[in-house]
């Protein structure tokens, strides 16, 4: 006997159906209006066209904003994952002096509102006499990505059998080499997740970028925001936005499929090649 009766099942299923419509409706609307030939997104749609896509990709302000964001997101994905691995390795140790301080610092970016971090970084740059720059945007993005990176990598690190890395050290590998050639490959799925999460956080981030991106070189979200408030730019914003939405949903699904596949493979490894008698 399950906890849900026939009526409950019907009600819950209908609610689920409605919620899926609610969650996807705005995204579908954006996708449909990307092909709207008119300038104003309103019904009825008189004719369809792809000219907003070609217009968008000829708009160098848009494309360069997109490239800026892709670059920052890429470096952020790598930097946050690197720092995340360092933090996770430290936290996985049995003995860590000042563990409380390390844990607090790693988790703190999760709870500080982004607007506070954004204005704080503005003040910090001002005190040191540094001009706003894309590097400053990146530095802020690494702060907010770090906790997610650690929360993805640390649980995976804990499931690894420490005797595998020990075996490598017994066979003469240094600490660093044992980590690089044994532990790190086993962490690959978690590292990929960490990279993708950090990439996404940075690519979408508006609060910090709106304060720290120098005038004249906006990131993609900063451009989006300006575009959403400028009726003439809105159709381009919708066209490129629909591509971004399709790509990010495809990446989320692909990453999940890959993660499940990779974790199954790695979990199958110890049986296939027994390292300890």
């Amino acid at each position: 006997m399950t906890g849900v009766g026939r009526l409950g099942r019907a009600l819950l299923s209908s609610y689920f159906g409605l919620l899926v419509v609610f969650l996807y409706a705005p995204l579908v609307v954006l996708l449909v209006f990307a092909f709207n030939a008119g300038t104003i997104p309103t019904l009825p749609i008189k004719s369809f066209s792809t000219h907003w896509f070609s217009r968008a990709f000829q708009d160098t302000e848009l494309t360069s904003a997109l490239l800026r964001s892709l670059l920052i997101a890429l470096v952020n994905g790598l930097a946050a994952t690197l720092l995340g691995v360092a933090a996770a390795v430290s936290l996985a140790r049995e003995r860590l002096p000042l563990r409380g301080v390390v844990v607090t610092m790693i988790l703190l970016p999760l709870v500080v509102p982004y607007i506070v971090l954004a204005v704080g970084l503005v003040v910090l740059l001002h005190e040191f006499g540094i001009a706003t720059s894309l590097a400053a945007v990146l530095a802020g993005h690494v702060v907010i990505s770090l906790p997610y990176s650690v929360l993805v990598i640390l649980p995976r690190l804990r499931t690894l059998d420490p005797s595998v890395a020990e075996a490598a050290r017994d066979l003469g590998a240094s600490d660093f080499k044992a980590f690089l050639y044994v532990t790190l490959p086993l962490l690959a799925p978690a590292l990929l997740s960490s990279f993708l999460i950090a990439f996404t956080i940075s690519f979408d981030e508006f609060a910090i970028a709106s304060f720290l991106a120098p005038p004249g070189s906006p990131t993609y979200p900063v451009f989006l925001y300006a575009g959403a408030r400028t009726p003439a730019l809105l159709p381009e914003v919708i066209a490129v936005g629909s591509i971004v939405i399709v790509v990010s949903i495809a990446v989320v699904i692909a990453a999940d499929v890959f993660r499940r596949w990779a974790e199954r493979r790695i979990e199958a490894l110890p049986e296939a090649t027994p390292l300890v008698g």
Partner: protein, 311 residues
């Protein structure tokens, strides 16, 4: 050649030995991320704190001196507009958090108990919009809710409303801000509730049935109380970030539905007064600290040492 030079050449000076030692490597791996956050997050908050008490100034030539006037104006000034916006904003946050939990619970319940076999795939499908750009989703809602947007023009096409007459509260209102925030958070809140429900021991529900409880009373007296940790976690996951929200009000909010985050933003951009803006920013930090003190134990992720976790 004397033996002392040989040993002197073989044994590195103490400082170099420390730099290449395992202890130093371990120190670096822990200290780098910690100091990074300390410098770029704690440091700025301390600076904002100093600004809020007038100890620093961004106006060239003006030297800061300790003053509590901005604080007392914000906290006790008669009819202070930022204080009243603070309370409106916290009310919106509270309503959105409660609504998101109420909206997410049946979803989590459906995933855990009805969609059993394919629940992880369906969960992914529900979560996927959450991983697309937040700003784009707000813009999508702008297109939906606009005066000549999808919803209004659809009603005109269906002759449910006179052509050209838009529903006035659909956009630039507290409704639109609340709706967009609810939309953004529902899938995310379902996650912690789903995890708790999915790990519930089915024998407890069987036992309740065997002891004569109906389905509804089993839910009320067994399932619901056991799922409360997930509910509180989801609630706090929305509550804390929404206290500083300012993007949705910028795009779909009107003058009366601007939130506290918008006030902070304005003081650091449109009408710069860093000292007053810092008071508001620190007030927000205090709110978060209070919320963490109240609810922190429901949401703290497990980062303890292995043996501490086992103990």
């Amino acid at each position: 050649m004397s033996t002392t030079t040989v040993t002197g050449a073989l044994v590195k000076p103490a400082r170099l030995r420390w730099l290449s030692s395992r202890a130093f490597a371990r120190f670096l791996t822990a200290a780098t991320p910690t100091l990074y956050v300390l410098l770029l997050l704690v440091g700025p908050i301390v600076l904002i704190g100093l600004y809020s008490f007038g100890l620093m100034s961004n106006i060239p030539g003006v030297h800061g001196s300790f003053s509590t006037s901005n604080w007392s104006d914000f906290l006790t000034g008669a009819g202070n507009p930022f204080r009243s916006r603070f309370f409106t904003s916290m009310l919106i946050t509270l309503v959105v958090s409660c609504a998101a939990v109420l909206g997410a619970y049946p979803l989590a319940y459906f995933l855990a108990f009805v969609a059993r076999r394919h629940r992880y795939t369906i969960l992914l499908a529900v979560m996927a919009p959450f991983f697309t750009s937040y700003l784009l989703r707000v813009i999508a809602w702008q297109v939906m809710l606009n005066n000549d947007g999808v919803i209004n023009s659809l009603l005109w096409q269906l002759h449910l409303r006179a052509n050209g007459h838009a529903i006035t509260w659909l956009i630039y209102s507290k409704f639109s801000v609340g709706l967009v925030l609810f939309y953004a958070w529902v899938p995310f809140v379902a996650l912690p509730i789903f995890v708790v429900l999915d790990n519930l021991d089915p024998r407890l529900i069987d036992a309740a049935h065997d002891l004569g409880a109906g389905r509804f009373s089993t839910f009320l007296r067994v399932t619901l109380p056991l799922s409360l940790p997930g509910v509180v976690a989801g609630f706090v996951f929305v509550l804390i970030p929404t206290t500083g929200e300012f993007i949705a009000p910028l795009l779909v909010g009107g003058p009366s539905s601007q939130m506290f985050g918008n006030s902070i933003q304005a003081f650091f951009s449109d009408t710069p007064d860093w000292n007053y803006g810092s008071v508001l920013a620190i007030a927000l930090v205090v709110v978060v600290i209070v919320l963490l003190a109240l609810f922190g134990r429901f949401v703290s992720p497990d980062l303890a040492a292995p043996e501490e976790a086992a103990a």
